[in-house]
């Protein structure tokens, strides 16, 4: 990476020259815009940020930025990001992925990342479908969504990520909509500023396999209540939430997990710990 300069950066400064291969109309384009705008708003520089992802359409996002990036293993973005943040607490670490990656194969990591409360920002682009592998139902797919790959629907209750995040200990919970990239940028910026594990779920329509999600723009609305720091109150709200309330829904006060001395050991000492 080139030596940093001190000029103010624009969102474009965080976009790489690689053109996204997402389908035209995909909501993930707006999430990319939201992330790059948030980083510019925060006054960060690309070399101060790492974006870690798993596998899936949305997990391609690190390549489309000029930040440090790690396109990891399916469902394992959070453990990789946790290790990175503990080793390099000076970096702003964003984790990005989709509902399949984060809630299914990565579901267990999601619970424990919330519980550990390391200072990360996890952005999940939720489109209720596995897009990269041609449209299978994901954990957040509605039980009655019928397709040729799931005739009659799965009949299985969908996963409720915000409720799970709260119950597991996430310190910041928000929901955005990709049709509002500026709103997403503000949410992501606030999530980064908030200490501890911040979870931002962004409804991001898959126009190829879920063209019905174009109607989301008519369903979303700002949450009618201010964010709370009371987990019990947040739980009541989230349990009765229809999935379309946008904004910051919970801001907790738990101190982040940051072990003393983390990230300060010389490399040679670290290597010695792994010698057999």
């Amino acid at each position: 990476m080139n030596a940093p300069d001190t000029a103010a950066l624009t969102p474009q400064s965080f976009k790489s020259d690689i053109k996204p291969v997402w389908c035209p109309g995909c909501g993930d384009f707006s999430v990319l815009a939201g992330i790059t705008r948030a980083l510019a708003m925060l006054g960060l520089r690309p070399e101060q940020v790492a974006i870690v992802s798993g596998i899936g359409c949305s997990s391609r996002i690190p390549a489309y930025t000029t930040c440090y990036g790690f396109h990891g293993v399916h469902g394992r973005a959070l453990p990789a990001a946790t290790g990175l943040k503990i080793a390099r607490p000076d970096l702003t670490v964003l984790v990005a992925g989709g509902d399949g990656d984060g809630y299914s194969i990565g579901g267990n990591h999601f619970l424990h990342a919330c519980r550990r409360n390391v200072d990360l920002t996890y952005v999940v682009m939720d489109n209720h479908v596995y897009g990269m592998t041609k449209g299978q139902p994901s954990p957040t797919t509605e039980p009655g969504w019928s397709s040729k790959l799931a005739p009659g629907g799965t009949g299985v209750r969908e996963f409720h990520p915000l409720v799970i995040a709260l119950a597991s200990g996430a310190n910041f919970i928000a929901r955005g909509f990709s049709g509002d990239p500026n709103g997403c940028a503000r949410l992501i910026a606030e999530a980064v500023r908030h200490p501890g594990f911040s979870f931002v779920e962004i409804l991001s329509p898959c126009v190829t396999f879920r063209p019905d999600q174009r109607a989301w723009k008519d369903l979303v609305r700002p949450a009618p209540v201010a964010p709370t720091d009371d987990p019990a109150r947040a739980a009541r709200r989230l349990m009765t939430d229809d999935g379309f309330n946008l904004g910051v829904l919970y801001k907790g006060n738990r101190p982040p997990y940051a072990p003393a001395g983390a990230g300060r050991a010389p490399l040679a000492e670290l290597v010695k710990e792994f010698e057999v």
Partner: protein, 188 residues
């Protein structure tokens, strides 16, 4: 727009050039700048998306639209005598999720044709005009802002006329334009 698809110069804009601006006017023009710049950025993104999917004809058209909106943004900087836009453009709040002239991301289809792209541009101009006409009508706004907004709404109406003319020059979409002989959806 001329036959090549470029918009004509705006004579009204010349009259606005470097007039002494009140704070309210500056705020309004900053918003107008944000609207034009956001529209240009979105068209550029659309052009990139169409290039990736080898829909080069539509990509070229979106590139032209991006250039046009970029010129409008630049024109505002010149009119106001601003060397560059005072930040932060992206922190501005709108009544709608995005600025009115910005096309929603979900409006795209990888097999869309030039007519569709122009129809999308027309809707953007219509939303922009509606927004500006609303500013011009509102008694809450100072008279100088209302006058500026009325001028710009008129320009947006002119843009609509030019786009409608442009649409006459491209073939109407095929009835089965979205049909893909090798569709992405497994099982189709």
């Amino acid at each position: 727009m001329t036959n090549s698809g470029r918009k004509a110069n705006k004579p009204r804009a010349q009259a606005r050039r470097r007039r002494p601006a009140s704070k309210a006017c500056e705020e309004f023009m900053a918003r107008a700048y944000a609207m034009e710049r956001d529209a240009a950025e979105r068209y550029t993104e659309f052009a990139d998306q169409m290039e990736v999917h080898n829909n080069l004809e539509v990509a070229k058209l979106f590139r032209q639209l991006a250039e046009i909106e970029g010129l409008h943004a630049k024109q505002i900087l010149e009119e106001m005598g601003w060397p560059q836009m005072p930040p932060p453009v992206y922190a501005l709040q709108w009544e709608t999720p995005e600025p009115p002239e910005t096309a929603p991301v979900t409006e795209l289809h990888y097999r869309m044709q030039p007519w569709h792209a122009l129809a999308l541009a027309l809707r953007n101009e219509e939303r922009a005009e509606k927004f500006l006409a609303g500013v011009a009508r509102s008694p809450k706004n100072p008279p100088e802002v209302r006058k500026l907004a009325a001028e710009m709404a008129e320009e947006e109406r002119e843009h609509q006329r030019l786009i409608r003319e442009w649409m006459q020059r491209v073939p109407p979409p095929d009835p089965d334009w979205s049909r893909d002989p090798d569709p992405p959806f497994l099982g189709d």
